[in-house]
Symmetry: C2
Subunit: 785 residues, 2 copies
């Protein structure tokens, strides 16, 4: 890490002057010492991981890096461009038509819920059958060789089975759709935050994701199938709401009204919520997840629709799985994982236990931070050395084989035999145990992680040997850490819960031993708290995770201690290192906007934060100028203020509106311009439909041919620009600018002076680069948007 660039502290000067080559072009207004600079916030550019060589690289190293030397994320625009076309359409639509639109929204949400539920069912059923098949084959083999000797054949069989299944899973991800790797939660967090990572909501991604997660789980990796459901739900939502699929090249000509970022993002929120709901049987938790991660502006109707999608999703999953399991009307499988019922009568808690829970939260926070730190180093290593898809596949296979080997050795070495009677083990492995007994370590490895979690919660006291649990925790911790970030589709929720449940149960057993078997020291309860602590320590989710845990346990009483545990884990973990998802988002240099501007950033004003100079367009502009501006790869702006005066003579000009790159592209494509000599002629009319048809994949400017004659034509932007863009005065403080930008989900915010003349532009990147570090305000380097 050569470029640990510590930027010198500054006071009183525009920080951009130092680095911005274009600073010389800034107008006099922009120089000098702003009042905001007086506070003298210390500004340090973080170098340790955000240097330029990785600034452009993705989680998976080369695939992303290879797409271009500098990856360009696109921002979503949650603000409607209220141009004349839009207003005319809205004014044409009467009350009844709006009701139809509203009904369509509900229908789409229902479809999102149903499809997400069905996808979850599909994953669940396929995993159950394939994993069952695998465990039976291996078990039969082990049973055979236990008698005959030569168990190394069994080990080999198990390892090869795992590795080959994982190989397939890894190949499809690495070679076909790298964005399907991992849980997808960081990507969806980014999407809901307003940053679109390429390919993230495509049908192809969904297919690879679903197949990938099945193969990862069947391949015996230390992964869960829950996290990817969130991504799956989001893709389903994005697809359905647009009424077409670009991957399939089908346009169903429905839901055309929803073809814009605002609407699409709302539906993706619903999809993510439906995914959480299907994964954990937690519809309210799903809604809160979506809101916690994405919503900036809380809208009651939207929330209600999100909730509807969530409910439908868990209900669909529940119905189908109930039918599949043969008890059609039982409705006992609300989620992919169900923690089983925690009865308050049997397993209540007392006030004295609360300090113990808080202590567990501290442990979870520390272990979570350790997990994240290890994973961080591992990810750095991967970005540097494991670029190529084939290397990534080999690594995944290696992990699969090692997981099998570790499991086997631990089972082999373990002498922890438990009576088979009364236990609910699916694949009891006798191995060297006496008849009527099974190897207890084997249950932990010879099971999907979901089942192991539930067993740890609910097996009666005495089911596990402390030694077994300790070894298992240790091994699984490192395996899970190694696994997260592999080029496979997989989630980290279940492994985290499993690690936590294991040490939590161990803790409970120790406590019971120390207190000489007090009735309240039920190991299952401590397993639950440990699971919460570990998961909280890794992902640092708070409100939504509490509710998810409450819903998954079906127990409201545990809400209070779970909340305390999660809060403690978050506080302790945050002291060391940030959450796993945030870490990976930052490794990708995504311009992620947090909830609030850093508290100490009042000393910065819009003047210092904004980008300047701004490329402006005139209301009636030469086509050639437009083409040149759009073709300028060095600036690559996406929004242009439209001004009245001549932008060539002075950068300062009265603001009249804002037009987007995508709109200009459509205008050029449809040749919406008139000859300079015939300015009185009416230029061709466009409809909103023309813009919607091009959404979201607007052609690049290079693909549009403009002849030399056409370059001399004029284009009238009045009708297409947004005549009332949001603006801030240049004296506004950063928190104020941030609040406006975040609350309204903006993409461009024009900074004006006292005469309403454009002096700068604030985009997501300008705001996202400030954050509160240990030493005060820091400035990050981010990827281009």
């Amino acid at each position: 890490m050569a470029n640990v660039a510590k930027k010198v502290s500054w006071s009183g000067r525009d920080p951009r002057d130092d680095e911005d080559d274009r600073a010389g072009e800034t107008t006099p207004l922009l120089n000098g010492t702003g009042p905001g600079a007086a506070g003298g916030a210390r500004q340090v550019r973080r170098g340790w991981a955000h240097g330029d060589q990785w600034g452009s690289m993705g989680l998976n190293g080369d695939q992303w890096g290879s797409m271009g030397s500098l990856w360009v994320y696109s921002s979503l625009d949650y603000d409607n461009s209220e141009n004349q076309l839009f207003l005319e359409e809205e004014r044409r639509i009467n009350h009844a038509a709006f009701r139809t639109v509203e009904i369509k929204r509900w229908v789409i949400c229902a479809m999102i819920g149903i499809l997400t539920g069905l996808v979850a069912c599909f994953i669940d059923i396929v995993v159950e059958n394939l994993a069952g098949l695998k465990y039976r084959v291996v078990k039969d083999n082990i049973d055979k060789f236990t008698e005959k000797g030569g168990l190394s054949f069994s080990l080999l069989l198990w390892a090869i089975l795992n590795a080959s299944v994982v190989m397939v899973g890894s190949v499809i991800v690495a070679f076909i759709e790298p964005v399907a790797a991992g849980s997808g939660i960081p990507q969806i967090k980014c999407y809901l935050n307003g940053v679109k990572i390429p390919h993230v909501v495509r049908l192809k991604t969904l297919v690879i994701k679903v197949c990938g997660v099945i193969l990862s789980v069947v391949g015996g990796l230390a992964v869960g199938k829950e996290g990817p459901m969130i991504h799956s739900g989001a893709v389903i939502a994005a697809g359905i709401s647009q009424g077409r699929s670009t991957s399939l090249k089908r346009d169903f000509k429905i839901f055309e009204y929803f073809r814009r970022d605002t609407e699409k993002r709302d539906f993706v929120s619903a999809g993510a919520a439906a995914g959480v709901s299907a994964a954990f049987g937690a519809p309210v938790g799903g809604v809160l997840f979506s809101l916690e991660e994405g919503a900036s502006f809380w809208n009651q109707f939207l929330t209600w629709r999100i909730f509807f999608a969530s409910m439908i999703s868990t209900f669909t999953l529940n119905s189908v799985l109930s039918v599949y399991h043969g008890n059609a009307w039982d409705l006992s499988s609300p989620g992919l994982i169900n923690f089983g019922r925690f009865d308050t009568e049997k397993m209540g808690y007392t006030i004295q236990e609360i300090p113990i829970f808080i202590f567990m939260g501290v442990v979870g926070g520390i272990l979570g931070a350790l997990f994240n730190a290890l994973n961080y180093w591992l990810t750095m290593f991967r970005i540097r050395y494991i670029h190529r898809p084939c290397l990534q596949v080999i690594e995944a296979m290696l992990v699969a084989a090692v997981t099998a080997a570790v499991g086997f050795v631990m089972i082999y070495c373990s002498r922890d035999c438990q009576p088979i009677q009364g236990s609910s083990v699916a694949y009891p492995l006798q191995l060297f145990c006496a008849d009527g007994e099974y190897n207890s370590m084997a249950t932990a490895f010879f099971n999907t992680p979901e089942k192991s979690v539930v067993n740890l919660f609910h097996d009666p006291p005495g089911s596990y040997n402390p030694m077994t649990l300790g070894m298992f925790t240790l091994m699984y911790f490192f395996l899970a850490c190694w696994t997260y970030g592999l080029t496979v589709s997989a989630g980290v929720f279940i492994p985290s819960l499993l690690i936590g449940a294991a040490w939590g149960r161990l803790f409970g057993i120790s406590l019971s031993y120390l207190t000489k078997g007090s009735i309240w020291a039920d190991p299952g309860k401590y397993a639950l708290m440990g699971a919460a602590a570990q998961l909280g320590g890794i992902v640092r989710m708070t409100l939504s995770l509490t509710v998810i845990m409450m819903e998954a346990t079906g127990n409201v009483t545990y809400g209070f201690p779970i909340m305390l545990v999660l809060m403690t884990a978050k506080i302790v973990g945050d002291y060391f290192v940030e959450g796993l998802y945030d870490m990976h988002i930052q490794l990708q240099s995504v311009p992620f906007l947090h909830w609030e501007a850093p508290v100490t950033s009042h000393s910065l004003t819009a003047r210092e934060v904004m980008s300047t100079p701004v490329t402006c367009l005139r209301r009636i502009e030469r086509v050639g100028t437009v083409v040149d501006i759009l073709s300028d790869t060095s600036s690559n702006h996406n929004g242009f203020p439209v001004v009245e005066s001549n932008p060539n003579t002075t950068q300062v000009a009265g603001l009249r509106g804002l037009i987007l790159r995508s709109q200009l592209i459509v205008l050029l494509k449809h040749k919406v311009f008139v000859e300079r000599a015939n300015l009185s002629l009416v230029q061709r009319r466009l409809k909103l439909k023309d813009f919607r048809d091009a959404y979201p994949r607007f052609p690049p400017i290079q693909s549009i041919h403009v002849s030399q004659d056409e370059r001399e034509c004029m284009i009238d932007l009045s009708e297409f620009m947004n005549p009332s863009p949001y603006t801030v005065p240049q004296e506004a403080s950063l928190p104020r600018v941030f609040k406006l930008f975040r609350a309204l989900g903006l993409r461009h915010l024009v900074v004006v002076n006292n005469h309403n003349e454009v002096v700068g532009m604030v985009t997501r990147k300008d705001l996202a680069r400030y954050r509160l570090g240990k030493e005060g305000l820091e400035e990050l380097s981010l990827a281009q948007t």
Copy 2:
């Protein structure tokens, strides 16, 4: 209702021209046909209930009306005034100090939770004891007279007991603090929406509320004690967060940082959530209630604190009540009402039942609408004829006596005897039943409504005679309807649930009869759905109510049907008449902002919506001018744009900032001005503390003496004004203006032209007056803010 003023439809002209006397003063810019007017939205001023004579009157008629011929609500300002003083303070505060502030916020939330929980405990315990005492006295009396004859003495005793208890409850409300009447939920909704109803968060209100609700419930009215908890929580929050009590005239000199609307409103959200949480044992429901009703901008940290307060609240209640009930560590009373456990095993539902549930939702919607319509007429009657406090007290006593009489007559006429064995009736009334049996009708009336609800949910099939249930439903419906709106503190949640549970159970019994006793037709399940349907039909809450019901039943599986029922009830009910709370809010002409602007309002622009002309101040202004402007009772503005040019010569002037009435008052009070001759002298410095000490009860301008010499002094506003107020261009459409206003919780939004010159001002009232009626866009007349 004489003034059914149907305003003529307009097209193309500024709608304000017709009614605004000041229209002549508008600048040329403001006249003419705006592009927005082209759509020709039809605009009808609603006259049926919002005519002028009631526009200023409160829920309880005269008390509020008598405070002034036109009641002035004040708006809350969720936008910090970022003036120099504020910025200087924020810049002085370092990172560690911000952490201290954050910790203080958490401490306050914990205190809010604890105190709210304790208040709930107090109410619960006192009600239980007093009501128990009353029922025992009446029961003994009835038992005595059943043998001897002369039951009319018992009736008299019962009626007098009720009426006298209710009299006390009504007197304290009517004569001491009228704002404590009702559930307080409409008032808290308004507060969270940004409208402050006078006295609503004062300590005195809390005391009267708590005593009032105890007396209402003990007095046997058809009311619940749950709704008022929300108001109580809000008052507690407002009190604690300010670190002082004006009622007690104590200032603890703590939490001074939180003495502004922004922070106070956040804490009140937490308090309301804590109240819901304590009332229903629903911490998540509480958070969602607060968010659904209040939050416009979702902030993760705020939500997490609200959740914390909710959790602490239910935990406190649970602990204290458990200790009180003698099973210290049981933690089985999370709320004031607990619906008891609904076991999925015993009472599951099947997919075929879903249409039945939806039908119940329809019934609930219709009955709810009927309830609301009846209550509306009743409220109109009360506003007109029952003005005086003594009349109100008499009405309350009458209702109490009638309730007792109705109960008695129904018990007397009922011949529905049930075996006493195996039932859990608290006060079994034998009356004319055989030994070992009790009168089943008596259990319904001889109980707090909470207990009756739980009985209806959980009593085994066959406990109730259909005839009894039918009569009870009918009677209770009218009693509850009559009771809501009386001058007593009381909630409508429990009566609604009780009515719904009664007809729901009746429905379940009929269904069981029709299907010849199918196993799935459990009447308890239908009682639950009926309760949800009825409550949903009356209050029209959606997401939060679903979660509250889920948490109160401790059953996640019922979430889906409850959601369907609530949704159906809302849709059906909304078709007829709006929700009870919204109705009462509208009766008070509160400028309540809904979630979105009416969908068809794109045809209106800021130009047509704004108030104009605007009273502007110069940056350095004559004190006399300021005093005159503030003293002008006809305008009574609360915010003034500060402009550079001379506002006397032209209304159009370059915007430099915004200053609030309250700030000006403080400036005048502290004589912050210099003589005109000595403009170079530095005027007196003020600190933020001076503004905070005056918050929230700024003295009226009349109380500030300004001598004739002082009137000629000059006041420099630069340091105190907010230099970067949010602005919109005059072409912005109403939905766009609305979104900005709502998302940021503004109080004043300045409308500017292309040269950043002030042309108008949008306040809450300008936006709240548009709503979507059956015939398109309507314009309401609202009280002054």
